[in-house]
C-alpha cells in the first residue's frame, strides 16, 4: 500500500530511446505517418475549400471590373461559370475535408491506443495503476492525439498551401503587393498567434497557481463538509474559498489586458495590409504598371486572403496543452519494461522507438496461451518455495522485501499478515510476475518461476489481485476472461463455489446481467466473489489472494473471508491480508513486518506468543 510512493521512472536507468529529445508535438504528428495519404488528401481538400473562398472573390472582382468596361457577354462567360462553380465547390470540399481528416484521425487513434496499451501491458502495470487519476489522464492524453491531428495539423498546412498560392498569384499581378500580402499573412498567421500564445503563458501560470488554491479549498469544503459542520468550521472554510476566488478573479481581470492582444493585432494587420495593398495598387495604376481590373482583383484578393489564417490563433493557443499531453504520453511509451524478458522468449519487445508502424497486431489470443510451457506445467508438485527474496523499487530505497522465506506446501492455505507497508503486496507482485526479484528465488514444484515468461507462470499461479477490476460488461464476459471457452455450466460451478450463484440467479438476466462500469451495480462483497469465481475458472494450481477484504465493511468481510477460504480448499493458497479475520482456519501463518518475516507458526502457536505482534493484533 504505502510502497506506491516509489516511482519507477527516475530509478530505472532507461537506455535513452532514439526519439527521446524530440519535441513531443513532432512525435505525435509522426504517429499519424501510417495514415499520411489520408491526411494529405484532407489537406488537399482543405486547401481547395479555402482556395475556393479566396478565388471566388478574385474572380468576382475580375468579373465586375471587366464588366465595367462593357465588353460583349462572351468575354464574361468563363468568369460567370467559374464564379458559380466556386460558390458550390467551397462548401463541398470543406465538407469532404472534414470527413476525411476525422476518419484519418480516428484511424490513427486506433494505432495509438494499441501502442499505448501494448506498452503498458509490457511495463510493470501494477504500480502505475495505484492511481486511478493517472490512468484516466493517460487515456485522455491518448485520445488527445486525435484532437491534435484534426484541429492542430490540418489548418496550418492548409494555410501554408492556400496562403502561399494566393501570395504567388498576387505577386504575379504586382510584386510589392504580393510581398506585402505575404508579410501580412505571416504576421497574422504565425507571429500573432505565437506571440499571443506566449503572452498567454504568463497569465496561464499565474492563474494556474490561484486556480490550484481555489480547487484545493473547494475540495476541502465540499468533501470535508460533514467534519466542517460538526466542528462549526464551515464558515471559515467558505471564507477560504472566497479568498481564493477573489485572488483568482483579481489575476484574471488584470491579465485580460494581455489576452486581448491577439484579437486587436489580427484586426490591425488585416486592415493595414489591405490599406498597403490599396496604396501600392493605386500608385501602380497611376504609374501604369497595373491595370484597373488587376487593382480590383488585387485588393479584393488581399481582403479575402486573411480568412485562410483565421483558424491559426486557436491552434497556437492549444499547442501548449497538446504538447504537455504528448509529453505524458511518450513518458509511458518510453518506459522500459520492468520484468526482464526471459531468455529468448517470444514476447520480447525490443527497443520500440518511434518506428513500430502500428501494423495489425495479429499476435492475438493464440500467442498468449501457447507458450504455457514445459517445466512449470509438468510438475505434479504445486508447492511454492520462496527463498531469500529481496525486492526494492529503486537502488537507494529501503528493501520492500528483505530476505523472505515462505513455504506454501501443495494444497495448503498459508496466510501472510502484517501491518500495511510491510511488503506484503510486493510479495504478491512477485508471485504474479509483475516484478522481478532483486535477489532470491521463487520455486514452484522445483522450477524457478522468474526464469519463465510471465504468462507461463500465470497459467499456474493466479488469484485475486488487490482491487480486482470488474469490466463494464456482463457477468458472463467477466468470468470468461479467465476461461475464454468455458460453457455456462462451468461458469455456474465457479459461481457456486464462490457463493455467488444464488445472487446471480436472482438477477433479472442471470449471467447476461450487465454489471456496470467497474461493476458498480454489484455490492463490494459481490465484486470480490465475482473476482474469486474468475480466478477459480482459470484453473490454476496456486491461488494468490491479495487483500481480498480491503474495501469491504466489517460484516461482509468475515463472510467473504470464510467463503474464500472454503473455495480455495485443495489449492495451494497464499492469503495476503492485514486483517485478522478467518486466520484460525489457515494452515500456517507468516507475520511480515518491514520486509522481513518476524513470526511464523499456526494460529494457535502465534496466539500463544504473548509478546508477539500477532497476539497483540488479535486483541484489538
Amino acid at each position: 500500500m504505502t510502497d506506491s510512493t516509489a516511482r519507477t521512472s527516475p530509478a530505472t536507468p532507461a537506455p535513452p530511446p532514439p526519439a527521446r529529445g524530440r519535441d513531443p508535438l513532432w512525435r505525435m504528428i509522426a504517429l499519424a505517418r501510417p495514415r499520411g495519404t489520408r491526411f494529405a488528401l484532407g489537406v488537399l481538400l482543405g486547401a481547395l475549400a479555402a482556395g475556393s473562398g479566396v478565388a471566388l472573390l478574385s474572380v468576382a472582382a475580375w468579373l465586375i471590373a471587366r464588366a465595367a468596361e462593357h465588353p460583349p457577354i462572351t468575354a464574361l462567360s468563363v468568369a460567370v461559370v467559374a464564379t458559380r462553380a466556386l460558390g458550390v465547390s467551397r462548401g463541398v470540399t470543406r465538407y469532404l475535408e472534414r470527413l476525411v481528416t476525422h476518419d484519418a484521425a480516428f484511424r490513427t487513434l486506433a494505432d495509438v491506443r494499441v501502442r499505448v496499451y501494448e506498452r503498458l501491458a509490457r511495463t510493470e502495470p501494477v504500480r502505475r495503476f495505484r492511481s486511478g487519476d493517472l490512468v484516466s489522464r493517460l487515456v485522455s492524453d491518448t485520445d488527445a492525439t486525435q484532437d491534435l491531428l484534426v484541429r492542430g495539423l490540418t489548418p496550418p498546412l492548409v494555410a501554408v498551401v492556400t496562403g502561399g498560392a494566393t501570395v504567388v498569384f498576387c505577386t504575379v499581378l504586382l510584386v510589392p503587393g504580393g510581398l506585402l500580402l505575404g508579410l501580412g499573412l505571416v504576421l497574422a498567421g504565425l507571429a500573432v498567434p505565437l506571440v499571443a500564445a506566449a503572452l498567454g503563458r504568463g497569465p496561464g501560470r499565474r492563474q494556474a497557481a490561484a486556480r490550484g488554491e481555489l480547487s484545493t479549498a473547494l475540495v476541502d469544503t465540499l468533501y470535508g463538509a460533514p467534519d466542517l459542520v460538526a466542528y462549526g468550521a464551515m464558515d471559515r472554510a467558505v471564507r477560504r474559498v472566497t479568498d481564493a476566488d477573489a485572488e483568482l478573479t483579481r489575476i484574471a481581470r488584470r491579465d485580460a489586458a494581455l489576452l486581448g492582444f491577439g484579437a486587436g493585432a489580427t484586426a490591425l494587420i488585416t486592415g493595414l495590409t489591405v490599406w498597403g495593398t490599396l496604396l501600392l495598387g493605386v500608385a501602380a495604376v497611376e504609374g501604369e504598371s497595373l491595370s484597373a481590373i488587376s487593382l480590383a482583383v488585387l485588393v479584393l484578393t488581399a481582403l479575402a486572403a486573411f480568412e485562410v489564417v483565421a483558424p491559426l490563433p486557436a491552434v497556437a493557443a492549444r499547442l501548449g496543452a497538446i504538447r504537455a499531453g504528448g509529453e505524458r504520453l511518450f513518458d509511458v511509451l518510453d518506459t522500459p519494461p520492468s520484468i526482464a524478458p526471459p531468455r529468448g522468449a517470444a514476447d520480447s519487445d525490443g527497443p520500440d522507438g518511434s518506428g513500430g508502424p502500428g501494423g495489425e497486431p495479429a499476435e492475438g489470443e493464440a500467442g498468449a496461451g501457447a507458450d504455457t510451457d514445459t517445466a512449470l506445467a509438468s510438475g505434479a508438485d504445486t508447492g511454492l518455495r520462496v527463498r531469500s527474496l529481496r525486492v526494492r523499487y529503486a537502488p537507494h530505497e529501503p528493501w520492500a522485501l528483505d530476505g523472505v522465506d515462505i513455504d506454501v506446501p501443495a494444497g495448503r492455505t498459508v496466510a501472510v499478515v502484517g501491518p500495511s507497508g510491510a511488503g506484503k503486496s510486493t510479495l504478491a507482485a512477485v508471485l504474479l510476475r509483475f516484478r522481478d526479484p532483486d535477489a532470491g528465488t521463487v520455486e514452484l514444484g522445483g522450477a524457478d518461476i522468474t526464469a519463465h515468461p510471465a504468462d507461463a507462470v500465470r497459467a499456474v499461479v493466479t488469484g485475486v489481485p488487490q482491487d480486482p477490476h470488474i469490466f463494464a460488461s456482463t457477468v458472463r464476459e467477466n468470468l470468461r476472461l479467465a476461461a475464454p471457452g468455458a460453457d455456462d455450466d462451468r461458469l455456474w460451478a465457479a459461481l457456486e463455489r464462490a457463493r455467488l450463484a444464488d445472487e446471480v440467479r436472482a438477477m433479472p438476466q442471470g449471467l447476461s446481467t450487465e454489471v456496470g462500469s467497474h461493476g458498480l451495480r454489484l455490492s463490494g462483497g459481490m465484486r470480490q466473489r465475482l473476482a474469486l469465481a474468475r480466478a477459480l475458472l482459470a484453473a490454476p494450481r496456486v491461488l494468490v489472494l491479495d487483500e481480498p477484504t480491503a474495501h469491504l465493511d466489517p460484516d461482509t468481510r468475515d463472510a467473504v473471508v470464510a467463503d474464500l477460504l472454503a473455495a480455495a480448499e485443495g489449492y495451494s493458497t497464499l492469503l495476503i491480508t492485514h486483517d485478522m479475520a478467518g486466520l484460525d482456519r489457515v494452515d500456517d501463518i507468516y507475520v511480515v513486518s518491514e520486509g522481513r518475516v518476524v513470526q511464523h507458526g499456526t494460529h494457535e502457536e502465534l496466539a500463544a506468543q504473548q509478546d508477539g505482534w500477532y497476539a497483540a493484533a488479535l486483541k484489538v
Binding site: 465595367a68 458559380r84 458550390v88 463538509a225 498468449a368 476472461l481
Partner: protein
C-alpha cells in the same frame, strides 16, 4: 439551450456592463465594415476612372484609420469580455459554494437573483436545506452513502469540477460567442440596408438566402440530434471501452488476456470510428449548408451585378460596394455557427449552477409530489427529515420579526435575542443550579492533563460557558427516520436515554441504523417522527419521563450550531484538509495555541508520529491528508476531539479499517477520550464493550437497550 440566458445577465453588474460594451462595440464594428467597403470601392473605382493617388489620398488614409479603429475596438472588446467573464464566474462560483454549504442564509447577495422573492420565503426555504450538504442531501452528511463505496460524496467531485473547469468555459462564451452573436444581428441588417439602397436586386438575393441559413441549420441540427441520441449509448459504450481495458490491465495480465486485448482495442476503436463517422456525416451537413448557402449567395450576387454592370444598369463603384459587402453579411453567421458548440459548454455549466441554486429552493417550497405521497401528519416532519433547520427558520419559528432575519447568523448575540422561551428558561435554570454541575462530574475523577487542557480552552470562551462544559441528558423518544426515496425506515421508533458522563456502545450490523442515530445526534438529520430531547443536568423534576416539567426540551429548539459546540465527532473516515497538521487539529478551535494542540495530540497518541513528520506539526498534509495512513488520520481526528474538549463525544467505527498496530493506538486514545465524557460509540461488534458503560444493540432500525457491561 438559449443563446443568452437571462439569469446569466442578472448574475452580476459586470455582465450588464459587458453587454452594453459589446453592443456598442458591435455597432462600431458594423460602422467600420460599412466604411471600409465604401472606401475601398470608392478608391478602386476612382483609380479605374483615372484618379491619381493624390486625389484619392484622403480615402486611402481613411482606410488606414478604419483599420486602426477596428483593431482598437477588437482589443477593447476582448479585454472587456474577459474581465466580465472573470467577474461573472466568480459571482456564480461564490453563490454556488454558499448555497451548497448553507452559508448563504444571511442573504448576502440575493437581490440580483431573487428580486421577485420576498426575503422571508427565501429564508424559510433555505432553512429546510441541510446545512453543509449538497445533492446527496442528508445522506451525504450522515455518511450513509460512504459506508459502501468509500467514495462518500460523488456529488462533491462534480461540484468542484463545475465550479472550476466547468465555469471556465464561460470565457469563450463571453469573449468569442456573444460578441459574434451581436454582430450576427447587426451586420446583416446594416449590410442589407446599404445594399438595398445601392442595388435592390442584390438585396433580395441576400434577404432570401440569409434566413435560409438558420432554418436549414436548425433542421439539420434537429435531425442530427435525433440520430445522435439513438447512437449515443453505443458511442458511449465504445468510447469507454479503452479506459475500462487500461484500468483492468493488471487483471487482464493475471488471466493472460492482456495481449489478446490489443486486437480487441483495435476492433472496438474501429467500430467506434465507423459509428462516429456515420454520425458526423450527418452532423457536418449543418456546416455544409451554412458554407454552401453563404458562398453560393455571394456568387449569385457577383454574377448578377456583373451582368447588370455590363449592360450599364449599375455603376462600377456600387457594384464593388455590393461585392465587398455581400460576404460580410454572412461572415458573422458563420462565426457564430463555428463557435456555438465550444461556447455552449460554458452556458451549460452556468445553467447547471442555476439549476443547483434553484433546485434546493424548489425542494423546500413545493415538493408537491413527495407531499402528495405522504399522509398529512408526516408532512412537516418529512420535510424536516430531509433537512436541518438553520438559524433563520429558528428565528422565524420563535416569532422573531423580519428585522431579525437581517442579523448575522454567525453572531451568537443576535441569535440569543430570539432564542425560544423554553431555551432561555432552561438557561436560567441551569445557571441557578450551578452547584449541580459539580455533582454530576464528581464520580469521574478527571485525568490531570485532560483537566488542564479543559481549563485552558475554557478561559478563552466567554459565551455559553457553562453550557459548553457540561453534558446534558439525551433522550430519543420514539424516533423514526426514513430516508427520502426509501420505504423502510432507517430508524424505527427508537427510544434511548443517555445519562450525562456515561458512554454507550451502539452495536449492530452495517445498515442497522446506528450511524443514522449518530447523524441525528449531530443534527445532520431530523427525525421523520418522534423527538430528540435534552435535559440539562440539575434541572428540576426527574429524568424518567420526557416532560417539559422535568426539564426536557426538544433538541429542535436549540440552534444546530450551538448544539454542535457541545459535541466532538470522530467519523469513520475523518476528512483531513490540505493544511498543516496543527491546523487540522485546530478544526474546532482555530485559536488554540500550540501547547494545547500538542497536548491534544499527546492524548490522542498522535504526538509521536507527528513529531516524526518532516516539519512536525507544521507539516502540510496535502490534498485530503494524503501523507498519512488511515490510522494516523484517525488519531488526528481524535486529537481534534480532545482539543474541542466537548462534553459529548460521538465515535463512528473508530478502528474499523485499521491494521492492528494502529487500531491499538486508537483504542488507547479513544478510551482516554471517553473518560468522564458522555460518549456514543458505534461499532459492528462487541470489541468496544469493555470501554463503555452500557451496550445497546441496534437491529434493523430498532434499538434494544439493556445489555449492561
Amino acid at each position: 439551450m438559449k443563446p443568452l440566458d437571462p439569469r446569466l445577465v442578472r448574475t452580476a453588474r459586470a455582465v450588464r456592463v459587458y453587454l452594453a460594451v459589446t453592443v456598442v462595440s458591435g455597432v462600431a464594428v458594423t460602422g467600420f465594415v460599412l466604411a471600409q467597403a465604401w472606401l475601398l470601392s470608392h478608391v478602386i473605382s476612382g483609380a479605374a476612372e483615372g484618379a491619381g493617388a493624390a486625389e484619392l489620398s484622403w480615402a486611402i488614409t481613411a482606410v488606414a484609420a478604419v483599420a486602426v479603429g477596428r483593431a482598437a475596438v477588437a482589443y477593447a472588446a476582448e479585454a472587456a469580455a474577459l474581465r466580465s467573464a472573470a467577474k461573472a464566474k466568480s459571482e456564480l462560483r461564490r453563490r454556488l459554494v454558499a448555497h451548497v454549504t448553507g452559508t448563504d442564509a444571511g442573504g448576502a447577495d440575493v437581490t440580483d437573483l431573487d428580486g421577485d422573492e420576498p426575503q422571508g420565503s427565501m429564508g424559510s426555504t433555505d432553512a429546510r436545506r441541510p446545512r453543509g450538504s449538497s445533492g446527496a442531501e442528508a445522506v451525504w452528511l450522515s455518511g450513509q452513502a460512504g459506508s459502501e463505496e468509500g467514495t462518500s460524496t460523488p456529488r462533491a467531485g462534480e461540484l468542484v469540477t463545475l465550479a472550476t473547469r466547468g465555469l471556465d468555459a464561460l470565457d469563450d462564451y463571453f469573449a468569442r460567442y456573444l460578441p459574434q452573436l451581436v454582430l450576427a444581428v447587426l451586420v446583416p441588417v446594416a449590410v442589407l440596408v446599404v445594399v438595398a439602397g445601392a442595388d435592390w436586386i442584390s438585396a433580395v438575393v441576400i434577404a432570401v438566402t440569409l434566413p435560409l441559413i438558420p432554418i436549414f441549420m436548425a433542421l439539420v441540427g434537429w435531425h442530427t440530434q435525433a440520430r445522435t441520441q439513438r447512437q449515443w449509448q453505443l458511442l458511449n459504450r465504445l468510447g469507454g471501452h479503452f479506459l475500462d481495458v487500461v484500468e483492468g490491465l493488471p487483471t487482464l495480465a493475471i488471466f493472460r488476456r492482456a495481449k489478446a486485448q490489443a486486437a480487441i482495442i483495435r476492433r472496438i476503436t474501429d467500430e467506434h470510428r465507423r459509428t462516429t463517422m456515420s454520425t458526423l456525416r450527418v452532423a457536418f451537413l449543418s456546416a455544409f449548408v451554412l458554407e454552401l448557402l453563404s458562398t453560393l449567395a455571394v456568387a449569385l450576387v457577383a454574377v448578377e451585378i456583373g451582368i447588370r454592370l455590363m449592360y450599364g444598369m449599375l455603376d462600377f463603384q456600387t457594384a464593388l460596394l455590393v461585392l465587398i459587402l455581400a460576404p460580410e453579411a454572412y461572415l458573422p453567421l458563420r462565426e457564430v455557427g463555428a463557435r456555438f458548440h465550444a461556447s455552449m459548454e460554458g452556458v451549460a455549466a452556468a445553467e447547471q449552477v442555476f439549476t443547483e441554486l434553484e433546485r434546493r429552493r424548489a425542494s423546500g417550497v413545493g415538493d408537491g409530489d413527495s407531499e402528495a405521497l405522504h399522509p398529512a401528519p408526516a408532512q412537516r416532519a418529512r420535510s424536516r427529515s430531509l433537512q436541518e433547520s438553520t438559524e433563520l427558520e429558528r428565528r422565524r419559528a420563535s416569532g422573531a420579526g423580519a428585522a431579525e432575519s437581517e442579523a448575522d447568523p454567525q453572531h451568537p448575540q443576535s441569535g440569543a435575542r430570539s432564542r425560544s422561551l423554553q431555551e432561555s428558561t432552561a438557561l436560567e435554570r441551569r445557571r441557578a443550579s450551578g452547584a449541580g454541575d459539580g455533582d454530576s462530574e464528581a464520580p469521574h475523577p478527571a485525568p490531570v492533563e485532560s483537566l488542564s487542557l479543559h481549563q485552558d480552552s475554557e478561559s478563552e470562551r466567554h459565551k455559553a460557558l457553562d453550557e459548553r462544559s457540561t453534558a446534558p441528558w439525551i433522550r430519543l423518544d420514539q424516533v423514526t427516520l426514513t430516508y427520502p426515496g426509501r420505504d423502510i425506515p432507517a430508524l424505527d421508533r427508537a427510544s434511548l436515554v443517555i445519562e450525562p458522563g456515561k458512554s454507550v456502545l451502539l452495536m449492530g450490523p452495517s445498515g442497522s441504523g446506528k450511524s443514522t442515530l449518530l447523524s441525528l445526534l449531530l443534527r445532520f438529520l431530523e427525525p421523520t417522527s418522534g423527538r430528540v430531547l435534552i435535559r440539562e443536568p440539575g434541572a428540576s423534576g426527574t429524568p424518567d419521563t420526557p416532560d417539559t416539567e422535568d426539564g426536557w426540551i426538544p433538541l429542535d429548539d436549540v440552534p444546530p450550531d450551538r448544539w454542535r459546540r457541545r459535541i466532538a465527532w470522530v467519523p469513520q473516515s475523518p476528512y483531513l484538509f490540505a493544511d498543516t497538521v496543527a491546523d487540522n487539529i485546530r478544526l474546532g478551535d482555530p485559536d488554540a495555541d500550540m501547547d494545547a494542540v500538542r497536548r491534544a495530540a499527546e492524548l490522542a497518541e498522535a504526538d509521536t508520529f507527528i513529531r516524526a513528520l518532516p516539519q512536525g506539526y507544521e507539516t502540510p498534509l496535502g490534498e485530503r491528508g494524503a501523507r498519512l495512513s488511515a490510522g494516523q488520520r484517525q488519531r488526528i481526528a481524535v486529537a481534534r476531539a480532545f482539543l474541542r474538549d466537548a462534553p459529548i463525544v460521538l465515535l463512528d467505527e473508530p478502528t474499523a479499517h485499521l491494521d492492528p498496530d494502529n487500531a491499538a493506538a486508537v483504542r488507547v486514545a479513544v478510551r482516554r477520550l471517553l473518560a468522564e465524557r458522555t460518549g456514543v460509540v458505534v461499532a459492528h461488534d462487541a470489541h468496544w464493550a469493555d470501554a463503555v458503560d452500557e451496550v445497546v444493540a441496534v437491529r434493523s432500525g430498532r434499538v434494544e437497550p439493556g445489555v449492561h457491561s
